[in-house]
């Protein structure tokens, strides 16, 4: 059996490796860099630079450190480039070890069951489209010059003294965190009435409060209506609930969203949804039986871990296994300062699906670990069904919570009840003790939160 994978991002390279493990002969075609958007321009560069900035923030604010400290953006970018390089080579090595044939070039559909790359033709029994997504543009603020997309941010020569970020979703909030930790003047513009509109409303509020507390100017229910300015700067005109505002900044970053990218494979005529995403069943099969799709090209949510899971399901089905992509929980993690975790259902979503949702809430300040690491702002919320007491969702905001998302997903996937959770011994002093406190709070008997 021959498989051609188009795209070497998280969906494509994981599909290729798993397919090889299953005995399928795989050719992977990548136009740019192995690792795709994620490794080269998104997940990894952003997290590496956020890490660098966090090391700086913590050191600069520690009363137990003396001396002068300054952040060297250029060095940080170089270090980040090294991280990306190392991970990209890792993927190259994994593909090679798995015996995957990697071809560099832009693929397009060929006659019958084939694709063409630089004039070469590759026949297949199955095709996997893992072509990812591309940024959505703002017509009021076209990219170019001082107006950047998310990719360009991580390659800037200097950290901007001032920046306007358009879009208060995950990428926008992460960028706002990054630059505000470095001391830039940051303006963050979101068209909806709150940041991170898809998430729990209390989480949104807390993130907005934290960013505002660090000097970020947050404009919700606002949009860019015009741009201008001389060569020294960029002037944006914002329509806000408080009237039109003018903001002068060194650069603007457009992070208003992404859309599935089919490129030349649009010609296949696959069934798409209203947003232009490739439609698939839970085996990741498209409307053409020998064509599968995985990752961003199948539409939101846009996460690498969703891409991984879909990719595995897709090739396992080609190999005759009855895998399906139907997780109960796909975690959302935002590596902002503070970090955000959202797993499973919010109260509103749970109510819509016919549960009788209840919520328990615990502040981070209840935890020894949070206090002993200067991270006691924020909270966690557990959503559970009032009848069966099954955990439906976990929503958190606070420094260091990102590593708790995996456990939250496990709880939802395993249909754990709050009674079960309360009996799992969690180590002291860690943030993971939040789970015990949340469960006990749900049972009406928190031990580290006063019931007044």
């Amino acid at each position: 059996m021959r498989l051609v994978v188009v795209g070497g991002g998280p969906a494509g390279y994981v599909a290729a490796i798993r397919a090889s493990q299953l005995g399928i002969k795989v050719t992977l075609i990548e136009a740019e860099h192995l690792g795709g958007e994620c490794t080269n321009y998104a997940c990894i560069p952003s997290k590496a630079l956020l890490h660098a900035a966090e090391v700086y923030r913590k050191a600069a604010s520690a009363p137990w450190l003396a001396g002068s400290l300054s952040f060297r953006w250029g060095e940080a970018v170089r270090w980040k480039d090294g991280v990306v390089e190392r991970l990209r080579r890792g993927i190259e090595f994994l593909l090679k070890s798995a015996g995957v044939e990697v071809v560099h070039g832009v693929a397009k559909p060929g006659p019958g069951k084939s694709v063409e790359v630089n004039g070469r033709r590759f026949e297949y029994d199955y095709l996997l489209l893992a072509t990812g997504s591309e940024p959505v543009d703002l017509k009021e603020l076209p990219r170019g010059g001082r107006v950047l997309g998310t990719r360009e941010v991580f390659g800037l020569e200097n950290a901007p003294a001032s920046v306007a970020i358009i879009g208060g979703g995950a990428a926008g909030v992460e960028a706002a965190s990054l630059f505000s930790m470095l001391g830039s003047e940051v303006h963050l513009v979101e068209v909806m009435d709150r940041l991170l509109p898809g998430l729990d409303a209390d989480v949104s509020r807390q993130v907005e409060r934290a960013l505002a507390g660090r000097g970020v100017k947050v404009y919700t229910s606002s949009r860019v209506v015009g741009a201008g300015g001389a060569d020294g700067a960029l002037e944006l005109r914002l329509s806000t609930p408080g009237g039109e505002k003018r903001v002068e900044v060194e650069i603007a970053v457009v992070a208003v969203g992404r859309r599935p990218r089919l490129g030349p494979f649009a010609a296949l005529g696959l069934e798409l949804d209203s947003r232009g995403a490739v439609k698939t069943d839970s085996s990741m099969r498209t409307s053409i039986p020998w064509v599968y799709a995985a990752g961003d090209v199948t539409g939101p949510p846009y996460y690498a871990h969703k891409a991984y899971a879909q990719a595995k399901a897709a090739v396992e089905n080609m190999a005759g296994l009855k895998s399906a992509y139907e997780p109960r929980a796909v975690p959302a993690v935002i590596f902002s300062d503070p970090e955000v975790v959202s797993v499973g259902l919010t109260e509103e979503e749970a109510a819509k699906r016919g549960y009788r949702p209840k919520a328990a809430r615990v502040p981070l300040s209840a935890l020894g670990r949070a206090v002993a690491t200067d991270s006691s702002e924020g909270f966690a919320k557990l959503v559970y069904d009032g009848e069966s007491r099954v955990v439906l969702g976990v929503h958190m905001v606070g420094r260091g919570v990102s590593e708790l998302a995996g456990e939250a997903a496990a709880l939802v996937e395993f249909y754990a009840t709050v009674d079960d959770l309360a009996l799992v011994v969690h180590p002291h002093p860690t943030l993971s003790e939040l789970f015990v406190e949340l469960a006990e709070a749900a049972l009406g008997r928190p031990t580290h939160v006063a019931r007044l």
Partner: protein, 64 residues
């Protein structure tokens, strides 16, 4: 000379709250059918089994 294989411990896979409820109700977990992921016994399974037991007791006429 061939060694007799060690038998794996006979363990009943049950969620923590199911273990606790079984203890509270005096229920033998080896009698309960698990419906959780991988056949793990959930608290719901224990409750259902307890109801069944009660039902059975109600049906059996008490000795005079």
């Amino acid at each position: 000379k061939p060694q007799a294989a060690q038998p794996a411990p006979r363990e009943v896979a049950a969620m923590p709250a199911a273990r606790r409820l079984a203890r509270e109700l005096g229920i033998d977990l080896t009698k309960v059918r698990g419906t959780g992921p991988g056949g793990v016994i959930t608290v719901e399974d224990v409750r259902r089994y307890a109801e069944e037991l009660k039902g059975r007791e109600a049906e059996t006429p008490k000795p005079a």
